[in-house]
């Protein structure tokens, strides 16, 4: 009964892994993956000398760290305030609305973003205009995207994250709160002295697991929102988009495969590191 999945993973995951040798070859259609001439490290020296390597590595790390931080902070904030809501219908309705963005594809999100940020018709600029402020051209100004992308990431995932943390909050023993109430603790004290410390284990595990994904950018998000917008490239190019463009745009197989190799190796190192840290923190939560 394990055979179907084993066959699938051998064909769709393990054989392409062997294709990693492409990074050391000059790929030709005739030779295919296993018959193209070897070129040693030429692809890598090209990749590193193009000046792209540092840029995309930096962007990938910056964005993913920002995503992880904002996502954690806002998920916890949302979970804590939701847990304080007593009115059932309000709780249900707001949670449903928060979960909504998780359901839609990044394609649809890119349509939303266009509605808001478009230079001529966008809502943001319309609101600016009503305050007699100058319109801003977001699609050609890089620094805005350092704020917009984490915002959108949180927007899409906050419903999901808040459920995770809410589950942890619900699991906290009610007697602790009752005892605190008898001692005269205020709501704020209960949150900072009871809820948050007890959420710490969940938070640390999720953060460490998130660290493992740090080299894999949200390709969907970046590609749908930025696409091939050259004006924004320096601020928004990540490893995944570079690999994609080298492959599909310029059909530069050498570049694409060396970028892919670089990413896989970095990911592996970081995941092993993160797992090592999880292991030290709580052995049961370790992945392997």
């Amino acid at each position: 009964m394990f055979v179907p999945i084993a066959v699938y993973f051998i064909i769709f995951a393990y054989i392409p892994m062997a294709g990693i040798v492409m990074a050391f070859q000059s790929y030709t259609v005739k030779g295919g993956i296993f018959g193209s001439p070897w070129v040693g490290l030429d692809n890598f020296s090209y990749f590193f000398q193009s000046g792209k390597a540092w840029l995309v590595t930096r962007n990938t790390i910056i964005y993913n760290l920002a995503f992880l931080t904002c996502y954690t902070v806002f998920s916890i904030l949302a979970a804590v305030v939701i847990s304080e809501i007593r009115q059932k219908w309000f709780k249900k309705l707001s949670q449903t609305l928060m979960f909504l963005p998780y359901f839609i594809s990044w394609v649809t999100v890119s349509a939303f973003v266009y509605n808001f940020l478009n230079y001529e018709y966008g809502i943001v600029n319309r609101i600016f205009a009503s305050f007699h402020l100058e319109a801003i051209d977001i699609y050609s100004t890089t620094w805005y995207w350092y704020l917009i992308l984490p915002f959108l990431y949180v927007w899409k995932w906050v419903g999901y994250g808040s459920v995770l943390y809410l589950a942890a909050i619900v699991g906290i023993d009610q007697e602790i709160y009752e005892a605190a109430t008898i001692d005269g603790a205020t709501k704020f004290q209960k949150i900072t002295k009871i809820t948050l410390p007890l959420l710490k284990p969940t938070m640390i595990i999720l953060l460490l697991l998130g660290l493992g994904r740090i080299m894999r950018g949200e390709f969907d998000m970046f590609y749908q929102l930025i696409g091939n917008n050259g004006l924004l490239m320096d601020a928004t190019d990540i490893i995944d988009t570079l690999a994609f463009r080298s492959l599909m745009g310029t059909a530069d197989f050498g570049m694409a495969s060396s970028v892919g190799f670089y990413q896989s190796v970095l990911t592996l190192i970081i995941i092993l590191g993160a797992n090592w840290m999880v292991r030290r923190y709580d052995k049961d939560q370790a992945l392997f």
């Binding site: 939701i82 509605n115 999901y160 005269g184």
Partner: protein, 301 residues
Amino acid sequence: MITIDSNSVNPKLNSAPLFTAIAYTIVGLIALICVLPFIVLVSGAFSSESAILQEGYWFWPRDFSLEAFSYIFRYPADLLNGYKVSIIVTVVGTVLSLFISMMAAYVLSRKDLKHRNALSFFLFFTTLFNGGLAPYYIWISRNLDLTNTYAVLILAPMFNVMYILILRSFIRGSVPEPLLESAKIDGAGDFRIFLKIVLPLTKPALASIGVFTALAYWNDWWTAMMFTNKDHLIPLQYLLYKMLSSINLSAAMSQHVSNLDMPKETFKLAMTVIATGPIVLIFPFVQKYFVSGITIGAVKG
């Protein structure tokens, strides 16, 4: 903090009206931010093109108009085909993926299986390391020759290893081992046990993971972009992407839509509404499966 006279503790202190107000405000605000874009999208789709061009998008329809929708429904061929492809891929893909994932999870959950940790790692390793995009693309399109087939749309996004591991822990937690043993003594084969005992007992997990898988298929545009170039194989999300990203809509729509006076801005929005609508409409009904899926996974992946 410690007061000798317990009566001096104001009972109102713990009802904390200010705090409650803040909590309601924050929750309401986050929820509002999450839903606002949907409102703007729908408003735009029901506005007239000229109002958008002059006044931009807004939170409610300006100069209410069905122009864009009537335009889409004049030549619905591409849209209907997109729906057809998406539905076929989602239904077939989800059923296959769930069934095979479940079989694997059942095997991995059996304590009497030797090397089960090695088998888990065989699956798990693929999430740690991969050959990268280029070998994957060339292998699938040139060597396996799967370009422009339904097979590639179904196979490429088929499995999520985390889901298999979640199913495995769920089986461990909800199928009692004596039950399996007694079935074995009664002469049931492994596959029969799987169909008659394991599947029925794990319905909640199947529903959750099934909804997650279906959503992943429905929202997948990447596979189609990489591996298809035939109009009849374009799923809904990729069709939408092509329409949103092309300045000239006629390049994206196959042949009918080449009219120059068509409402371009509102057309895109109306298209987004139609493509996203079904998901938003069924969302409240399947949300509970998502929530239980997340919490099943949160217990231990």
